[in-house]
Amino acid sequence: MSEQTQTPKAVGRTREEMAKRLAQDIPNGSYVNLGIGIPELVTKFVPDGHTLIYHTENGLLGMGPSPEEGEGDLELINAGKRQVTANPGAAFFHHADSFSMIRGGHIDLCVLGAMQVSKGGDLANWSTGKPGAIPAVGGAMDLVAGVKSVFVITQHCTKHGDPKLVEKCTFPLTGVGVISRVYTDLAVIDITAQGFRLIELSPGVDFEYVQDRTGAELLPIINP
C-alpha cells in the first residue's frame, strides 16, 4: 500500500484502527451517513450494544451489510453503487426526501474522506481542480452543509507526504467551516475557533511528529 511507504505500519493507526477509534465516539442510536472508502469500515467496529441506523443518500434508511452471494438485488445498492441489504425497520424513499433528511439536519453524523481540511473546518474532497479531470460532486456538498456533525477520516498526509490538514485549502472546496473533527492515522484533532486542537495522539506518536506533518499550527491537548 502506498500509504505504508509514507507511514510505516509501526507508526500510527491502520485504516481499521482509525475506523475503530472513530466508532467509539458515535453515540448509540445515531443516524449516520458514511462516505465511500475508509468511512465504510466504521460499521465493523460499532461497540457491542450500540445500534446505529445507516442512511444512504440514494434512498434507504436502515441499510444493512452486503448480501450473501447470489442473494442481492441489483436495485438495492448504496451511494457507492454496491449491493447492500435492508435491516428490519428500514425505509425506502425518493431523492428529495433523502436530501431533506440531510439538508434538514436530521442525520446526526456523517463520516467522509478528505483531500484537504483547513484549520477553519473547510473541506476539499471532490476535485483536484486539474484541467482534464471530470468534475463530479455527488452528495458531498449537501452532506457537509446539512448533517449535524461531520467527521473526516483520512491519512494524515497524501501519498506524496504532503499535509492534508492545512492553513487554507488549495483544492476546490466542498464546504466552508463544516468539519468538526478529523481522525487520521496519527491523531484525533478537533476543529475549534482557535484552529486545529489535538484531542488524542495515536499510540507511538508524539506531538512534534504530528505537528511536523500538519500544515498549520496544532494546539496541544487541553487537560491531557
Partner: protein, 236 residues
Amino acid sequence: MINKQISSASQAVKDVFDGATIMIGGFGEAGSPIELIHALIDQGAKDLTVASNNTGSGEVGLAALLKAERVSKIICSFPRTANSTVFPDLYNNGKIELELVPQGTLAERIRAGGAGIPAFFTPAAVGTPLAEGKETRSFNGQDYLMEHGLVADFAFIKGRTGDTHGNIVYNKTARNFGPIMAMAAKVAIVQVNEVVEPGEIDPEVVVTPGIFVNRVVEVASPVFESELVAAGVSYP
C-alpha cells in the same frame, strides 16, 4: 437497541414547555391527535404557538386547548370551523393572535422547514391581502411571494401503525400534515393505533421514516372529535 415507544400520552408530552411552538396534525378531525392534545391540556404548558390547519370543533381536542387559553398564537389556514365558538370568541376578544396562511403555503412552509430550505417562492396569494409585507419577485414574467420555512419545537401527529424505530403509516386522508410536521419538529410525537416491531412495516410502504420521529405512543382506540362533540363532551 432503539425503542422510541413511550408508555403513555402524558409521558410523551411531559416536557412541552411554556412558550413552545407545536405543530398539530389533522385536517378537521381526520388525523387529529386528540389524546396527545388532551394530555397536553392536563400537563399545563401555556403561551404556546400552534400551527394547525383548523382550530378544532366543540370543546374537545384542539378547541379545548384553545378554550383553556394555553395558546397565544395560531398559524392556520382555515380557523372558521363548524360547531366551534371557541376560536371566534377568543379572536374577537383579542385573546389569541392569528397568522393566516394559505393551506398550500402552510404545507410547503412546513415541508421547507423540515427539509432545511429557509425560504422559497410561491404564486399563491400574490396580489391579495395575505401578500402584505411580503417580498415579491418575478420569475419568467410571473410574480411570486417569498415565504419562509416553518419549524417547531414539537409536533403532535396521529398515525395508524408505527414501529419502535418510529416508522409510521397513516389511515387514508388522516395522513394530511403528519409526514411534513414530523420533518419540521425538533421532537415529533406520534400516537398510533398499534405499535409493532421493526420489520413488520414493509420498507416500501413506510410513509414517515423513523428518522423524523422521536416518540411513538400506542392509543389503541382513539376517540373522534365529531363523536365527542355529538355526545356533548367538553374536555377536561
